[in-house]
Symmetry: C2
Subunit: 226 residues, 2 copies
């Protein structure tokens, strides 16, 4: 699996050029990768008999690719492999933007849309590396402490790589922007920041009481504490 | 705008039947509506020249419809209106499911996929009602305290209604499920719950200091406190 530095994607084509509110468009690969690396659930567009569909799934970026996985008979993954190209979206909601006018209410967010060809990752060691990267992206350090996949599990997992050929990000991170005459209105305006936090873990009911919470879980909680 | 009780959707067709892990499938309209009403950002599938695309946008459910909005020239909204049917997905991530084996790691989540025809909402009062519902879904009580849209703003907003003709939800809300022989391994297992919280608001820098934080913002913070 490539562990390369953030690569240059192609320059923005008409397709990935941000059209609405073009000032929010970001095409820098490092910023795009940072947005991708801040999450682990994407939404994937695909077609079934020409009809557009969308489903959520987990992903991880490694170098210039993202990896998805699922059952070998997963309809979405099969459709991606059979198509010339995949379209994937990652969205983080960062805040409610409360303006003086209803019209200028908005959301602070970071989102990426990417396009590229999807391929089945066939080599078992490459599949294992993709699953390791995914597990450690969701919670760093987890892979080294669990039972890793046996050959039968690897065979029972379809791993799909999507090369990031074109991508764009759209970012809003700012106070409300009201019409000039509305600033005189006696209406409260501002941003309510939103973030995802982790709560105290719920131990598996079947976990023996002498197995303590491991350091990687404690570190995750500290990193995502409320 | 219809304010009807949750209606019966059609029984699950092949298209909305949950295929992977069918036990997670939910077809009850009340449960589907509850998942829709817990969020305000959806992902919309559409096609451009036959190619599948996906983008995030805000939504609100009212009765048996969801409403989206945007610029009158918004490519995604225009594509939805021109297509026989829309496909929309809403996803909430509720926790990391940490199993003893890498293979059984999972996510606790609630997601809905819905299908139905999209139409432009032309009547200004219906547009206003949809925008009011959207604003008050995101933060209850906001609409009554802001400057509501004038005729020019309403004209400059495209509102699209999508009738929920078919829908299914997929829900996982459970401890890890390991292979029976793995329960003997000395590996910590459990669920790390995740939730979205609101932080202290950032007042608009241009807000006069004598305008106090309104009750609806304080109530929202209490409802979503860390």
């Amino acid at each position: 699996m490539p562990q390369s530095q953030p690569q240059s994607h192609l320059p923005p084509s008409e397709r990935v050029s941000v059209k609405r509110l073009a000032a929010r468009g970001v095409y820098d690969p490092e910023q795009i990768h940072a947005i991708l690396d801040a999450g682990f659930i994407c939404h994937v567009a695909f077609t079934v008999k020409g009809e557009p569909r969308v489903l959520p799934t987990a992903y991880v970026r490694v170098g210039g690719e993202i990896y998805l996985h699922g059952s070998p008979s997963n309809q979405m993954l099969r459709s991606l492999i059979a198509s010339p190209e995949a379209c994937v979206c990652v969205t983080h909601v960062d805040g409610l933007v409360l303006a003086r006018s209803a019209f200028h209410h908005s959301i602070n967010y970071r989102s990426v849309v990417l396009f590229g060809p999807a391929r089945e990752v066939g080599d078992p060691e490459c599949k294992r590396a993709a699953l390791q990267a995914l597990t450690n992206r969701i919670i760093p350090g987890r892979w080294d402490e669990v039972r890793t996949p046996n050959p039968s599990e690897l065979k029972g997992t379809l791993v799909v790589g999507i090369r990031i050929v074109e991508a764009s990000a759209k970012v809003r991170n700012a106070p409300p922007k009201d019409d000039e005459e509305d600033y005189a209105l006696p209406i409260w305006a501002g941003v309510v920041p939103l973030s995802v936090v982790a709560r105290q873990p719920i131990r598996d009911p079947r976990l023996p009481s002498d197995i303590a919470q491991p350091a990687h879980v404690t570190a995750y909680l500290k990193e995502h504490e409320a």
